[in-house]
C-alpha cells in the first residue's frame, strides 16, 4: 500500500491532528466523567502504575516492585494487571472496586514476562507473553484469575520472543506478535540470534492454544521485530515493528494482518525514516477508524486512517510513546512526564497507556 503524501494531504492531516492527537476533546469537560487511563510510570527511583484522567489528574497510584510495562484490564475494567518490563518476573493485580491490597504474583523460574498480557475465557484466565529462556522459545503463561492468579499451564506462542498480544473481535483467536529476538537474562539485553531471527504474527485458537495461522516475514525482513499492536473491530491487526538491521535498509515499520488475508504494508514516505527504525506503541480508535503509532526514538507520533492507510495527523514531542484512543483521536504520553497536554514531571511515563 502506498500512502499519498501530497502537500494537500498533509494540510488536511494537520487540521485533523489538531482535533485529535494530543488535544483531548474533554478539555472543557468537567473533571468527573473524564475518560480514564492506566499506565506504568517511574518517579525518581520508584516504579508504579497510575490511573489518570484525560486532564492529567492523577487519581490512583499503585507501587510496583520494579519497572512495569503494560497494563491490561478484564472486560469489566474492574481488574487491572500491570506486568513487569522484560526481563522482569512480577505482575500486580488490582481490584479497583474493592480497594483490597494489590495481589503480586510471579511467573515461574526459567520464565520472565515480556510486559504484556490479556484476559480470556470470560475473564477467568489471564494470558501473559513469557520467555522460556533456557530453551529460547516463546510461551503464553496461563493464570487463573479466579484463584489468585495461580499459574495453571502454558501454551506455545508459536515463535520466539512473543511481545504484545490482542484478542480477535469474535473472541476466538489470540493474536501474538512473536518479535523473533532471543534473549537470556544471563546476557542482559543482548540479542542472541540476530543472524537467525524469524519474526511472525501468530493467530492462536483461544480454546486450546493451537496454531490457526502464522504470518512470517520475507527473508530480507528477518530483523524486523514484530512488537506492539492493536486490532480494529473488523479484525485488522496493526503491528508496529522495530528494525534491528542497517538503518538504510529499514522495511516498513507498520504492517497489518488479518486471518486468511495477505499482509499489508504501510509506506509512510518521508515520515518513515523519522521513526528511527522503532515503533514503541500502536493504538486503534475504533469509533474514528484511526490508528496511531509512536516512536520515542524519533520523537514522533503518526496517525492514519485505518481503512486507507492515509496519514492524517502528526505529533512531535520528545520521547513520545504512550498512546490510547480518546474521543476524536488519541491521547499520548511521554517518558519526560507529559500526559495529554499536561506536564507531570518528575513522573516519567512508560511506553503504553490503557484506556479504561
Amino acid at each position: 500500500m502506498k500512502t499519498d503524501l501530497s502537500r494537500r494531504t498533509l494540510l488536511c492531516g494537520f487540521s485533523a491532528a489538531l482535533a485529535t492527537i494530543g488535544l483531548p476533546m474533554a478539555a472543557t469537560a468537567e473533571k468527573t466523567g473524564n475518560p480514564l487511563f492506566a499506565t506504568a510510570f517511574m518517579e525518581g527511583e520508584r516504579f508504579g502504575m497510575a490511573i489518570l484522567d484525560s486532564e492529567g489528574e492523577l487519581l490512583h497510584r499503585i507501587a510496583l516492585p520494579g519497572r512495569g510495562h503494560d497494563v491490561t484490564a478484564d472486560s469489566t475494567g474492574r481488574h487491572l494487571v500491570a506486568f513487569a518490563r522484560r526481563p522482569g518476573t512480577f505482575a500486580v493485580a488490582v481490584n479497583r472496586q474493592k480497594g483490597s491490597e494489590p495481589k503480586v504474583f510471579a511467573c515461574p523460574p526459567t520464565r520472565h514476562f515480556y510486559g504484556h498480557g490479556l484476559f480470556i475465557d470470560d475473564d477467568r484466565l489471564l494470558v501473559a507473553t513469557e520467555n522460556d529462556y533456557e530453551n529460547g522459545i516463546g510461551v503464553l503463561g496461563l493464570y487463573d484469575a479466579t484463584d489468585g492468579f495461580r499459574r495453571i499451564g502454558e501454551w506455545s506462542s508459536h515463535g520466539v520472543g512473543p511481545h504484545d498480544l490482542v484478542m480477535s473481535p469474535d473472541g476466538r483467536s489470540l493474536i501474538v506478535a512473536n518479535g523473533g529476538m532471543e534473549t537470556h537474562p544471563d546476557f542482559g539485553r543482548q540479542i542472541l540470534n540476530l543472524a537467525s531471527m524469524e519474526p511472525s504474527l501468530a493467530f492462536i485458537d483461544v480454546a486450546d492454544g493451537s496454531l490457526k495461522e502464522k504470518h512470517t516475514l520475507p527473508p530480507d525482513w528477518a530483523r524486523l521485530s514484530t512488537r506492539h499492536m492493536d486490532i480494529t473491530q473488523d479484525g485488522q491487526v496493526f503491528v508496529g515493528c522495530q528494525w534491528q538491521g542497517e538503518a538504510a535498509a529499514c522495511p516498513p515499520l507498520l504492517l497489518s494482518f488479518a486471518l486468511g488475508e495477505d499482509r499489508r504494508e504501510y509506506d509512510l514516505g518521508e515520515l518513515a525514516p523519522r521513526l528511527d527504525g522503532y515503533v514503541g506503541s500502536v493504538s486503534v480508535n475504533q469509533n474514528e477508524g484511526q490508528v496511531a503509532i509512536t516512536s520515542p526514538h524519533g520523537d514522533l507520533a503518526i496517525m492514519l486512517d485505518a481503512g486507507s492507510g492515509r496519514v492524517i495527523g502528526l505529533q512531535e514531542g520528545v520521547d513520545i510513546c504512550g498512546v490510547a484512543p480518546l474521543s476524536g483521536g488519541f491521547l499520548t504520553s511521554s517518558g519526560t512526564g507529559r500526559f495529554g497536554d499536561h506536564e507531570l514531571k518528575p513522573i516519567a511515563f512508560d511506553n503504553h497507556i490503557l484506556a479504561l
Binding site: 538504510a248 520528545v318 511521554s334
Partner: protein, 366 residues
C-alpha cells in the same frame, strides 16, 4: 520548504499541542564542529579499523595456507599468532553496531558469539565428523550457517580438540576447512571495509547527513549512532563479554562461557574492545562536542579507560580461570565496575552534555 520544517511550523503556529524541540543539542557544538568530529571518526577510526581487520584476516589466510602447504609446530604457532592479530583487530571494531556491519549478518559471520547453546560448536564438529567437503571451499561455505564462517570456527580448528592435527598433516580436512574459513573472514571484512570506503556511501552519509538519506538525516542521527557505539558497546562488553564467565560469585563463574577461552585471548580481546572505544573517543576528537562547562568530562572518561587498561595489564593469567577464585577474580570484577561506570559516563553525562539524553520511554528499547 522541507517537510520537516513545515511540520514544525504548522504545529507551533497553532500552539495547541505540546511541542518541545526534538533536538536539544548544545548550542556551542556548531554544525562545523560536529562535522569535524564525524569526519575524523570516519577517517581515523572506522575506515582504518575495518581495513585493518581485512588486512589481518589476509595475513591469517597466508599463515593458514603456509601451514597447509607444509605442516609443522612452528607454522601452527605462527598461524595462531596471526589468528590472535586478527582477533585483536576485530575486537577493536567489535562494538560498532551500525552501518555495513549490520548488513547480511556481517558481525555474526565474523564472530558468532555469544553462542549460548553451542550451536556453532556443534556445526563445526559436525562438519569435521562428516568431512563435509562443501565446507572446504569459500563459495560453498558462504551459503552455510554464519556460525561456520568466522573467527570462532577458526579458534576451534586452531586451538580446540584435534588442533594438533593441523601441525601434523597439512593436507588434512581440518586444514582445508580452515583455509576456506579464513577466506570467508577476509571476504566479509573486505565487504565491510569497502562499504566504508565507497564514495557517497555510509561514510559520506554519516559525516554529511542529509534529509534525503534514510539512515543519517541530521547530525543528531549521526551523533546518536556515534554515541550508541559507546553506550551499546560498553553494555555489550559488560553483559555479553564479562558477566557470562564472571558470574555473580566464584561458584557461578563459567570459564567456558568466555569469548576466546580456547585461544587464551579473553583478556586481550577485552583490552581491544575497550581500547577501540578509547581510540574512537580520542581519534574522533569527541571532547570537541562538549560545552566548556563540561570539559572535565573528557578527563573522567580517559581516566576510566586508563583504569580499565590498568586492570587488564596487571593480569598475567587467562581471565576465565581467575573468575573461579574468590581473590583472583577481583580484578575482573573491578573491570566490570569500570566498564559500567564508563557506560554511565557516556549514556548519562556525555549524552546529557551534548543534549542527546534518551528519554525513559526510549531507553532499553522494548
Amino acid at each position: 520548504m522541507t517537510f520537516r520544517a513545515f511540520a514544525i511550523v504548522a504545529i507551533m503556529a497553532f500552539g495547541s499541542m505540546p511541542f518541545v524541540p526534538a533536538s536539544g543539542r548544545a548550542a556551542d557544538s556548531s554544525d562545523a564542529a560536529v562535522r569535524a568530529v564525524l569526519t575524523d571518526a570516519v577517517e581515523n577510526f572506522f575506515r582504518p579499523g575495518y581495513r585493518r581487520v581485512q588486512d589481518r584476516a589476509a595475513a591469517m589466510g597466508n599463515a593458514v595456507e603456509a601451514l597447509c602447504t607444509e605442516a609443522g609446530d612452528e607454522r601452527l604457532q605462527k598461524t595462531r599468532a596471526a589468528f590472535a592479530e586478527a582477533v585483536s583487530a576485530w575486537s577493536r571494531m567489535e562494538t560498532v553496531r551500525f552501518g555495513p556491519i549490520l548488513h547480511q549478518n556481517a558481525a555474526e559471520r565474523l564472530y558468532f558469539f555469544p553462542d549460548r547453546r553451542g550451536i556453532g560448536l556443534r556445526q563445526v564438529q559436525g562438519v569435521l565428523a562428516k568431512k563435509d567437503e562443501t565446507a572446504t571451499a569459500a563459495d560453498t561455505l558462504a551459503a552455510k550457517s554464519v556460525a561456520l564462517q568466522g573467527l570462532g570456527t577458526l579458534e576451534f580448528l586452531l586451538f580446540g580438540t584435534g588442533a594438533e592435527e593441523m601441525a601434523a598433516n597439512g593436507d588434512s580436512f581440518r586444514c582445508r576447512f580452515a583455509e576456506a574459513v579464513t577466506a570467508r573472514v577476509e571476504a566479509t571484512a573486505a565487504t565491510v571495509a569497502n562499504e566504508w570506503s565507497e564514495p557517497g556511501g555510509i561514510a559520506n552519509r554519516f559525516a554529511n547527513p542529509d534529509s534525503a538519506y534514510a539512515d543519517f538525516r541530521t547530525q543528531e542521527d549521526s551523533l546518536r549512532a556515534l554515541l550508541g557505539t559507546f553506550t551499546n558497546g560498553l553494555e555489550l562488553i559488560a553483559d555479553a563479554r564479562i558477566v557470562p564467565f564472571l558470574g555473580g560469585d566464584e561458584n557461578k563463574a563459567r570459564p567456558k562461557a568466555a569469548a576466546w577461552w580456547r585461544a587464551g585471548l579473553t583478556g586481550d580481546a577485552l583490552a581491544q574492545n575497550l581500547g577501540g572505544l578509547s581510540e574512537l573517543y580520542d581519534e574522533a576528537g569527541m571532547q570537541r562536542l562538549l560545552p566548556t562547562e563540561n570539559s572535565n568530562l573528557s578527563s573522567e572518561i580517559r581516566f576510566e579507560f586508563a583504569n580499565a587498561q590498568r586492570a587488564l595489564s596487571g593480569i598475567d593469567q587467562p581471565l576465565p580461570k581467575l573468575a573461579e577464585d574468590e581473590k583472583d577474580r577481583s580484578p575482573v570484577a573491578y573491570l566490570l565496575i569500570v566498564t559500567r561506570s564508563l557506560r554511565s559516563l557516556f549514556a548519562e553525562r556525555f549524552a546529557g552534555a551534548i543534549g542527546l539524553v534518551a528519554g525513559f520511554s526510549s531507553l532499553d528499547g522494548d
